[in-house]
């Protein structure tokens, strides 16, 4: 029934139900001067979101900001037992400024869960997640899913300065080997990150690599996966209008059989094979 997109059949999350659900803001706090943490009371299917899936958020209009379109945002945490759905975001423009005005008790409409999330292979024993900034929010649920499957996780968390390392506690809580790398001490430099990756590969602790949030880290991960022959996935962003594959606004270029082809980030992704994804 989804014949317009052959790639989806390879994944598991495609046929999960989707709803435009009314949720209630349960808390909304500043994590630091850049990031905000939004917790919603939500029902199913929203709380069944798989790691890497996203929601299309109907941001409220404020007196200053009136976003017309929804805003896509990846899931930070979805807990069907607790009935909660969480997002971690950086206030960066019109949509997120409007989003930041939400207060506890406010109703809030979210369409989802949408898109194709991360895939974990049963044969993997140890994976590496490599992210920066708010991209780490997308990788946190993946690391937790890996831990539940008994897969070890090394989390390389990149940030400008120590207080901007997101979610180190969540990676730590699952027993991940957490490796912060920072701009302030130079440890986030590509050559250093590459050295960390090479070490993990030598130790046999890199069966697959996952990345999100930085073009520089994406290129590093893609090169590393190609050189070592391991699998890899990347969660991508793109400006969207509909979020469900209809408008073709959110295309990016992908390498398929030696050709560059357009794929829709909302429908074919937002998680893609590192081999196909291209630099942005």
């Amino acid at each position: 029934m989804l014949q317009s997109c052959e790639t989806r059949s390879a994944w598991t999350a495609n046929d999960a139900p989707v709803a435009d659900a009314e949720t209630i803001v349960s808390s909304h706090t500043a994590v630091n001067d850049e990031y905000r943490h939004l917790v919603l009371r939500a029902g199913r299917p929203a709380t069944l979101a798989a790691p890497g899936q996203f929601f299309h958020l109907l941001c409220p209009a404020s007196s200053e900001d009136k976003p017309y379109l929804r805003r896509p945002m990846s899931t930070y945490k979805a807990d069907p037992e607790a009935g909660t759905l969480e997002f971690l975001y950086k206030v960066a423009g019109l949509g997120t400024r409007a989003l930041a005005t939400l207060k506890p008790g406010d109703p809030f409409r979210v369409l989802g869960p949408l898109g194709v999330g991360f895939t974990l292979d049963d044969g993997w024993r140890h994976i590496v997640v490599l992210g920066r900034g708010v991209g780490l929010a997308t990788l946190a649920p993946l690391a937790e899913a890996a831990a539940r499957k008994g897969i070890g996780v090394t989390a390389i968390l990149s940030a400008r300065r120590p207080d901007l390392i997101m979610s180190a506690d969540r990676f730590g809580a699952i027993g991940a080997d957490v490796r912060p790398v920072l701009d302030t001490d130079g440890s986030s430099a590509p050559e250093n990150v590459r050295e960390i990756l090479a070490g993990l590969a030598r130790e046999g602790r890199a069966d697959a690599i996952f990345t999100c949030g930085s073009n520089r880290l994406f290129r590093l991960a893609k090169d590393f996966a190609r050189e070592t022959g391991i699998a890899g996935q990347v969660a991508l962003e793109q400006q969207m209008a509909c979020g469900i594959g209809m408008c073709f606004c959110c295309v990016r270029k992908f390498e398929v059989d030696g050709e560059l082809v357009d794929k829709r980030v909302c429908w074919d992704g937002p998680v893609f094979d590192l081999k196909e994804a291209t630099s942005w």
Binding site: M1, L2, Q3, S4, D15, P17, V18, A19, D20, P45, L58, K66, P67, Y68, L69, R70, L94, L111, Q238, Q239, A241, C242, G243, I244, G245, M246, C247, F248, C249, V251, R252, D262, W267
Partner: protein, 323 residues
């Protein structure tokens, strides 16, 4: 995967309309380019009056560079560039998908020349396709890139060529980017169209004041959404007054009241487009709201709304009956 749609309250209002050779269960359908299989995950597609596909072309088309869309006040500007997997893919894969549903399938087509438009209409005259909607707002390579629907002469020529090529109901979608849309609409009727869709997006642009660059990869795009509604409504009113074939209203329709307004102006049916991007179940809300509106006003048949605007042409006793 029906999760967000409730069934309508039991009402005796008849919503069925006859539009350009098709009998529709209700007058609400998607606008081309804002509808695809993905919506099946969010709502019951069988509730719609008809399906209208994204415009297809004969050959594969990649589409325009990103950004393909930008927001503006109460609407958006898009320049997607008609990405298309081509006619054969569409016939073999997309047409069968919609065969599993009851609403008729209207296929939107585009082509660079008169002959190509006719050949597309001919080649889509297949089982499963209920009507053709010709998107003649695209550039015509035989006329220095001007769109067919900018001029009555070109509109009549291309419509007549398609008319000869297919027995299917033929809808012609007009552009608002023309000096005299009534003349163009009359030309479509003269060429043999069964209905006209009024109208497509309005040519527009935005510039980023930080980067000094246009906000669209293609520089210019088409404005849609509630921002264009009064303009589209005016065009429907003008065209409906001069045509004998039905007018399908399209432009910024977001609510049941918008649909009522377009029908009062003379539209026999309406297309809901951009709003679906913001509220994916908007078409269901419009259908249910239309029914509720008629029930509240004691209107038994939605067709009674068509062209019922009280204006200078209305007889005094008719005007009084409305109040």
């Amino acid at each position: 995967m029906v999760t967000a749609v409730s069934s309508p309250a039991g009402s005796s209002v008849s919503l069925a309309v006859d539009v350009g050779g098709l009998r529709l269960a209700n007058p609400v359908m998607p606008a081309s380019g804002t509808f695809a299989e993905g919506l099946d995950k969010v709502m019951d597609l069988n509730r719609l009056g008809a399906f209208v596909t994204k415009t297809i072309t004969r050959e594969f088309r990649a589409g325009n560079p990103v950004p393909r869309v930008c927001e503006t006040t109460e609407g958006l500007i898009n320049s997607i560039g008609i990405p298309s997997k081509g006619l054969d893919y569409f016939r073999d894969n997309v047409v069968p998908f919609y065969g599993a549903f009851s609403p008729p399938l209207v296929v939107s087509i585009s082509a660079p020349t008169v002959d190509d438009f006719a050949a597309m209409a001919r080649d889509l005259t297949v089982a499963g396709v209920a009507a053709i909607e010709a998107n003649i707002s695209c550039p015509n390579i035989e006329e220095d890139g001007r769109s067919f629907a900018m001029e009555p002469r070109l509109t009549e020529t291309v419509t007549a060529a398609m008319r000869k090529a297919t027995p299917l109901p033929l809808w012609v979608k007009l552009t608002p980017n023309t000096g005299d849309i009534v003349a163009v609409a009359r030309a479509a009727e003269a060429g043999g169209a069964d209905a006209v869709v009024v109208a497509n997006t309005i040519l527009a642009m935005r510039i980023d004041t930080e980067t000094f660059r246009p906000k669209l990869g293609n520089v210019l795009g088409g404005l849609s959404g509630p921002a264009v509604k009064p303009i589209a409504l005016r065009m429907v009113y003008q065209c409906a007054d001069k045509l004998t074939i039905p007018v399908i209203g399209c432009g910024g329709i977001a609510t049941p009241e918008d649909a009522v307004e377009f029908m009062l102006a003379g539209a026999r049916a309406v297309q809901v487009g951009t709003t679906t991007f913001v509220r994916p179940t908007a078409m269901i809300d419009v259908i249910e709201g239309l029914s509720a509106f008629c029930a509240r006003r004691g209107i038994a048949d939605v067709n009674e709304l068509v062209g019922a605007v009280v204006d200078g042409n209305t007889a005094p006793e008719e005007a009084e009956a409305v109040l």
